[in-house]
């Protein structure tokens, strides 16, 4: 069962007043974010709950949720590493860096470390091509990556 916490409820209340009552479905992105903030990811039960709040079918909520890569539909680690694989980063060898990171964390791309600390994901463009290769860890950007830099960053998070 999924239930919004008290903090979440307060946040939802703040979001819902932004939209006219007959357009409340527009609050779907906000509610997905709140659900993810609370539990780390958006579970199917959370999607159903959001659907109930906004008069939407759970399928519609899942459709929206799965469209955006920044909503996680499975449990993730404490730090989520989003590795840009788009053109600029690709040209600057992000593939090798991604592989390097995966090996270092001892997981597959898409997986989570056993201690639930890191999740490693591919991401399409992170809109920071001028400083490629780029990765994002939770809310921070890390740019002009090299293996040494990656070592440094990951060590600082351990």
């Amino acid at each position: 069962m999924f239930a919004f916490s008290e903090t979440s409820e307060k946040e939802i209340e703040k979001q819902l007043v932004k939209y006219p009552p007959d357009r409340k479905k527009s609050a779907i992105l906000a509610l997905l974010r709140i659900a993810q903030q609370q539990n780390g990811y958006v579970s199917p039960e959370a999607m159903e709950e959001i659907g109930r709040r906004l008069d939407l079918s759970p399928a519609y909520v899942e459709g929206v949720c799965s469209f955006y890569t920044m909503y996680y539909t499975r449990p993730v680690g404490q730090y989520v590493i989003l590795f840009c694989i788009n053109v600029s980063c690709h040209l600057l060898n992000c593939d090798n860096l991604l592989e390097y990171t995966a090996k270092k964390l001892n997981i597959e791309v898409g997986g989570t470390t056993e201690d639930k600390k890191f999740t490693l994901l591919r991401e399409e463009c992170l809109a920071e091509c001028s400083r490629a290769p780029v990765m994002r860890i939770n809310n921070d950007y890390h740019v002009n990556l090299t293996p040494q830099k990656i070592d440094q960053i990951l060590d600082s998070l351990k």
Partner: protein, 829 residues
């Protein structure tokens, strides 16, 4: 979306041809009017413009880039070129991308031969592929539900199905998940796609991605003999196309833009899943193939019908005309029911003719609205009707009207239904208090005070007043009601209400009675009623009756179906013909009905499937039934259409022939018919209102018969509310679309939709009884006990037990003694 009224037009040029169309028309539809076919995938006229597939690119003068013709609302003096080099090249490019990962499995694809992607590729695509890399492989043949299969490789992500689910079905059960390359059609968490209307996605899919599981690999479409015919389930009479191969049933499709011209006056091009997947009765193992006597010996049809006619005549002569009777069914065609009433009235001189267990007289005090009138109404007032379960495609029409034509919906019901969601106003009266509620509404409309309704019906007077004000404020009111769900007194009160609404100043009012059965309206029109001749002629209109039916026509009121059962039990009724009905299960009374039928001297059952009733028959006449027999039916909107046969049976005569031969065996002078249309012609001569109905007019869109006024409406006033016994709840029997009966038997592809016996209780009663959701209970009335699983919900007000009829086996009607009186039940753990 087509607009309600179209007055303004624009004129433009498409490929050098001048076109004048209503303002707002999109270029694709405008081109169609002059025979120019712009290829489309995502566009569907019932879903409106979308523009995601880019297939319909055209060049428009003064526009810098190619435009999508499906989203382009045409403007005055626009010049559109569909065949310019730029447009052709554009479309070719789009197709190349569309085909990028589409598998080349046309030779084994069910859609092959009727596939827009195939057709468009031939007409507009590149000759050769430039693809040199491996195609993207995805899941093939995944069940989306037990009746719909999806092939993810073939999907071109046009989103027709997901938009259908959103716009038409309005459930948003199917959606696109993920993004871009990973895009896929999915239900929530891949749960089965089980709605009332899921099969329509198979028709609208422009590729072979969504296929009918029951038809997979059964036939190639060019081997099919397609019959444009009617569905034989509910009263909407949706237009379907039945495909048969070498006289073997293959599949049902909606008659829609995909294969023919959809009949917008009836179904808008959609059908429900029962219509699509519930056609298995034509090949059921349970079919009655031969006539037989009570020893089980097979009889030639001619011998059997001769025996039946002679025996009936003999009994009628010996014991008087009151001793024979006919119980028909709303599943018969107009011709069959017309001929049966003729046999009983003219040859056997009796009015013991009926087809139902509820009260309803033919005719309405207001207009009989056609289904299309719903869209042009200002207010739809839905009374005691649950279209989703009883006439599903009507549910789609109402939702469409509310969403796109600003029609207001008001619901007055004793149970929660799916129609509460689109309703602007939804009132729930206590089970059994429909008469009080309707009377109160009449009072409110006459600006009289409404008193005591809260106590008797559970509705605040304020709400009734609000409803009355809504009715008064609407110019065109369409009342949709289920006569079978109104108890005896309310069946008069509803007419009084219609008269009251119709009598309000500046008001157009019409009604659509939605009774169970395919042809309930036609059955009433054809005089399958103990007090009315065909065309709603009351017995009191002796002169008219005599001029149409002869001087010897019986003018004594006959017995109703329920009275016939009573009289059979009492030994007064000696012989009975039951046509396509199963009183043992469907009539109230349970074992008493069986005893009554056993008490008859002579029982003839004319049916297409074996039932509990055929087991009691002295003579069984085999009926080919829908699928094999031609005939006309009258839908809930009064529209008469032709139900063509889709399969041929040469070794057994059709029902109309069986009945007409019975007539001729008693009266050699009676006309003989070469085909069903000869009987239709006789109907148009003898049935007031059916004058314009003939072989020609019943085809295509069909033709509404002329409605007729009912005999004088007498308000009986509300009956005094009865006091329940201690702890007893009032039973309401409701309908469930996929009930497990003889039509949907265990081998039906819809078997996954069967439900177990359930009783819905209000939380208040459940608490008092100590019953929780999921608890196994017994619902008891007298010595009858029905097993059920309890569900605690707000589906009905306190004081009631609501039970859907989910199967024949459930035996629910045994609880009911008299449908006009209250049935009180005890729900026990």
């Amino acid at each position: 979306m087509p607009k309600k009224t179209q007055t303004e037009t624009v004129t433009l040029t498409i490929d050098g041809k001048t076109v004048t169309v209503p303002k707002g028309t999109v270029a694709v539809d405008a081109a169609k009017t002059v025979g120019i076919d712009i290829p489309v995938f995502c566009y569907h006229e019932k879903l409106g413009p979308f523009g995601c597939c880019r297939m319909c690119l055209v060049e428009v003068e003064k526009m810098p880039k190619l435009a999508t013709a499906c989203t382009l609302a045409v403007g005055q003096d626009m010049v559109i070129n569909t065949e310019s080099q730029k447009a052709t090249k554009g479309r070719q490019g789009v197709l190349e991308f569309t085909l990028l990962n589409h598998p080349l499995d046309c030779p084994v694809c069910d859609k092959g031969g009727e596939c827009p992607l195939q057709d468009n590729t031939f007409a507009h695509g590149p000759d050769l592929t430039r693809t040199e890399f491996t195609r993207y492989n995805r899941d093939k043949a995944v069940p989306l539900s037990p009746v719909v299969t999806i092939d993810r490789e073939r999907c071109i992500a046009c989103q027709r199905c997901t938009r259908y689910s959103d716009i038409v079905e309005q459930e948003t059960a199917l959606v696109m998940v993920n993004r871009g390359f990973q895009n896929r059609v999915q239900t929530f968490q891949d749960r089965p796609y089980e709605t009332r209307f899921s099969g329509n996605v198979v028709d609208i899919c422009p590729v072979g991605a969504l296929t009918n599981t029951t038809y997979r690999f059964k036939s190639r479409i060019w081997d099919l003999d397609n019959a444009e015919t009617l569905c034989a389930h509910c009263g909407v009479n949706c237009n379907i196309v039945v495909g048969a191969r070498m006289n073997e049933f293959m599949r049902v499709q909606a008659k829609s833009g995909e294969n023919s011209q959809a009949n917008d006056a009836v179904d808008d091009g959609w059908i429900c899943d029962k219509g699509r997947f519930g056609y298995g009765f034509v090949e059921s193992a349970n079919r009655i193939l031969n006539c037989r006597n009570d020893k089980g010996e097979a009889l030639e049809a001619n011998d059997a019908l001769g025996q039946a006619a002679t025996q009936l005549k003999k009994i009628s002569d010996e014991h008087g005309p009151k001793s024979v009777g006919f119980i028909g069914s709303p599943y018969g065609t107009n011709e069959e029911l017309y001929l049966y009433q003729k046999l009983f009235r003219q040859q056997l001189k009796t009015n013991n003719i009926d087809f139902k267990t509820y009260k309803q007289a033919p005719g309405l005090p207001v207009d009989h609205y056609d289904v299309g009138d719903i869209e042009t109404s200002d207010l739809v007032l839905l009374i005691a009707s649950d279209p989703t379960e009883e006439a599903p495609v009507l549910d789609l029409r109402i939702k469409k009207s509310v969403s796109f034509f600003d029609v207001k919906l008001a619901v007055l019901n004793d149970q929660k239904t799916d129609m509460d969601k689109p309703a602007a106003l939804s009132l729930r009266y206590n089970v059994g208090s429909e008469a009080e509620t309707l009377s109160a509404l009449i009072d409110a409309l006459n600006d009289k005070k409404v008193r005591g309704l809260e106590k008797s019906a559970g509705i605040a007077p304020k709400l009734i007043k609000e409803l009355a004000a809504t009715i008064q404020g609407s110019e065109k009111v369409c009342v949709i009601y289920n006569p079978a769900a109104l108890n005896g007194v309310a069946s008069d009160t509803i007419l009084e209400l219609l008269q009251t609404i119709g009598g309000l100043p500046d008001k157009q009012c019409g009604a659509i009675p939605v009774a169970p059965g395919t042809n309930a309206v036609g059955a009433l029109d054809m005089g399958a009623h103990p007090n009315f001749y065909p065309g709603g002629l009351a017995l009191s209109e002796a002169e008219k009756i005599k001029s149409l039916w002869g001087d010897e026509s019986p003018l004594q009121p006959g017995f109703s179906a329920l009275e016939m059962i009573e009289k059979a039990a009492a030994g007064e009724l000696k012989a009975l013909v039951v046509f396509r009905a199963n009183p043992v299960v469907d009539f109230p009374g349970g074992s008493a009905v069986m005893e009554a039928l056993k008490n008859l001297d002579y029982l003839v059952v004319h049916d297409m499937l074996e039932t509990e009733t055929t087991q009691l028959a002295n003579l069984v006449l085999a009926s080919n039934g829908p699928g094999y027999d031609d005939g006309t039916t009258t839908n809930i909107g009064g529209r008469v259409q032709f139900r063509k046969r889709s399969l041929v049976r040469e070794d057994h005569p059709p029902d109309w022939m069986i009945i007409s031969r019975m007539i001729r065996s008693l009266d050699p002078e009676a006309p003989s018919y070469k085909n069903s249309f000869d009987a239709t012609d006789e109907i148009s001569k003898n049935v007031p209102g059916y004058e314009a109905i003939n072989k020609k007019s019943v085809k295509g869109m069909g033709l509404p018969r002329k409605g007729f006024a009912c005999s004088e409406v007498q308000g009986n006033g509300a009956p005094a509310a009865e006091k329940p016994e201690n702890g007893a709840l009032r039973l309401r029997v409701t309908n469930y679309l996929f009930a497990h009966d003889k039509i949907l038997d265990a081998s039906s592809p819809l078997a996954h939709q069967f439900k177990s016996s359930t009783v819905y209780l209000n939380a208040e009663d459940a608490k008092a009884l100590g019953i929780e959701t999921g608890g196994e209970v017994k619902v008891v009335s007298g010595d009858v006990a029905i097993d059920a699983v309890a569900e605690v919900s707000d589906r009905c007000n306190p004081g009631a037990a609501l039970m859907p009829r989910v199967s024949d086996e459930q035996g629910l009607m045994a609880l009911v003694k008299d449908p006009d009186a209250a049935t009180w039940v005890q729900v026990k753990k």
